[in-house]
Amino acid sequence: MGTQAAQKSERYFVPQPSAWPFVLTASLIALLGGVSAYLEEDHIGPIPIYAGLAVAIYIIFRWFRGVALESEGGMYSAQVGRTYRWGMSWFIFSEVMFFGAFFGALFYARELSLPWLGGEGSKIATNLTLWPGFEAHWPSNGPAQLGGAFKTIPAFSVPAINTAILLTSGVTITMAHHALKASKRGACILWMWATVALGCAFLYLQAHEYIEAYTELNLTLRSGIYGSTFFMLTGFHGMHVTLGTIMLISITLRLMSGHFKPDSHFGFEGVAWYWHFVDVVWLGLFVVVYWL
């Protein structure tokens, strides 16, 4: 280790061979194979799912912990830092494209498929022969009214509050970043816990909204194309907020145990970027899913 420390920051850090990725893959296969069998009712039981999930979480924890310790051990040069920055940027770009597929589906349903089913333009024959009497409207659960009549969640109720919460959390994490850069670790940790609290508040309200949708509004995943796009978009976003909150908690705990320096804290920045990404996706959701 002595020689490593002596030559840090000169050479690009190339890690030792590692079994983490292989074990992670094996656990993912157990997890996904178990879920597949469950979906097809093959009755192989829940053990592969739970075991796969547990091992995957353990490996992910070990892996990130290892990276954090390597970083704190001074093994990363500035060039490694740039690698992580580029890597995180491209990863977030890929996430944007993933959400793009679902936003695209929403756009297509509202602007094309529903009007066509309603007989717009040259599609009059579709309407007359297949779905006579159907008029395009939004929100819609389609000409067969799948899932039955439903109500939607007004944009300027809980979703507006959630928008305010996420925007505020973007401010608090920025305050934490400034505090970290000014070497005010105590303030930074407080701002981080504030951010975590806001993330949890968002998730609580989102869960509340889902329960209300299912129990009182009859708005479910089965409510035609509206229910499909609503729950898939907000659901995937909620999963990302959950992941982001876990990331926030883990870097806050790292801050409390003395990690990160005012001039070197990529882990912090990566999480902050991710949090802002989640924030921006929510703004898109608020406008096109809840409001318009």
């Binding site: 695209g104 589906a105 799948l146």
Partner: protein, 546 residues
Amino acid sequence: MAHAHDDHAHGGHGHDDHAHGPDKGIMRWIKTTNHKDLGTLYLFFAFIMFFIGGLMSLVIRAELFHPGLQFVDPEFFNQMTTLHALVMIFGGLMPAFTGLANWMVPMMIGCSDLALPRVNNWGFWLLPFAFTMLLSTMFMPGGGPAGGWTLYPPLSLQTANAFPFLIFSIHLMGISSITGAINVVVTILNMRTPGMTLLKMPLFAWTWLITGYLLIAVMPVLAGAVTMLLTDKYFGTSFFSAAGGGDPVLFQHVFWFFGHPEVYILILPAFGIVSTIIPTFARKQLFGYDSMVYATAGIAFLSFIVWAHHMFTVGMPLAGELFFMFATMLIAVPTGVKVFNWVATMWRGSMTFETPMLFAVGFVFLFTIGGFSGVMLAMTPVDFQYHDTYFVVAHFHYVLVPGAVFSVIAAIYYWIPKWTGRMYNEFWGKTHFWLSTIFINLTFFPQHFAGLAGMQRRVPDYALQFTDFNVISSIGAFGFFVSQFIFIFNVLASCYGWFGRQRNAPDRVWEGARGLEWTVPSPAPYHTFEDPPELPAHEVTGVHDH
């Protein structure tokens, strides 16, 4: 490839900081974070997948040797066409190109390894698991997926027990591609040796940079599309159900938004390889380096706005048909720039025709045939006749087999002396080229005629008048498959030193070759450039001849 570089693990550098030698036995390959080891794993994996996918194509060609049904039932035939495509695209070509990027990009741009070596290991090991999962579906109740690799609903939703395994295996392949692509892109952007500006990079690095960008952009879209299939089948969503206000055509749009850039993902690295090999054996600089870069970027841009040309007959509005027709035809312009530049590079060069050059020149001719039939298919009214016929099959196999696959073969012949230190056998290499070229044309050229005359793809039977074309095509397919054993033996002999092959390849294996990879010993040391190397002016392949 396999053990070639073991004993050079410590050669040349004299640093023994953390233990650099790889682990022994199987654990070396499971735990490795070395770009050369992983490149080797990728290439061997691709080999195996090409073999499995090739066997599937032989089932198809055997069944189509005669009209009528003889060997397999139609359901199994449909599984073969579906899995052949998935295996060849996601298991063969993409890992082969990633393996070449693993091996060559760090050596070309002068860095120690890929930027994220552990992620690199993960990206590789996802693949054998994902394909075990995918191929296991053939043995499940109801058989494997049989709705075509494009997975169009509602047909694909009728897949039996195999369905979730299919979807999740595609998710895993997608994660593999995205991690691999992020790795290559970050390596190229961040780890070039001082002095290697972007416009001095070897073209293979350039084409992989743009390929990586495409992969990061579109693999998540595929993940989204197949996720919607999954929830439509099991969780009651209505994305692709008109009854709920969705549309099966929506799937086609989302799928081809992935699928068309995917086509360029499969060919841009091939362009990079050919642009590397032709200047070497023409002993001239690449003609129009800058225009090659801009043409690659132009193709990548256009690839995002042409997807619906796969869907001309689906009933799109006229404005859509026209837009996608013209946008598609535009692609012929940057592609034409490339073909012109390759020909101009050869023009008045001191040409020799070693095996890599033969495959590269074969690529230029035969890929261009596929390009021309692509322009024909781009014309909307004409496509109404061609759609889903063997003309389409002939078109995309011309760009993928004597196109992309030939480039992979050329790359392996070109660089294997650098990887192993042992030359391949030139006579058998040339024999391999000529047999491959003859048989691949026998296989796919007649399919143009069968398709123009109306023979449908993905059907195990056909009308009598197509018999002659299909007999020729099947003979060609079997001949091509058998010819590849020459390649396998030639490559393995270089890897393992069979037939008395000596490890005597010089550093600069081809005297016309330039680039940093030719400044290091053959085989290249296990860790090649731990310190960024000097970039001598005469090794710069990105030359601007003003």
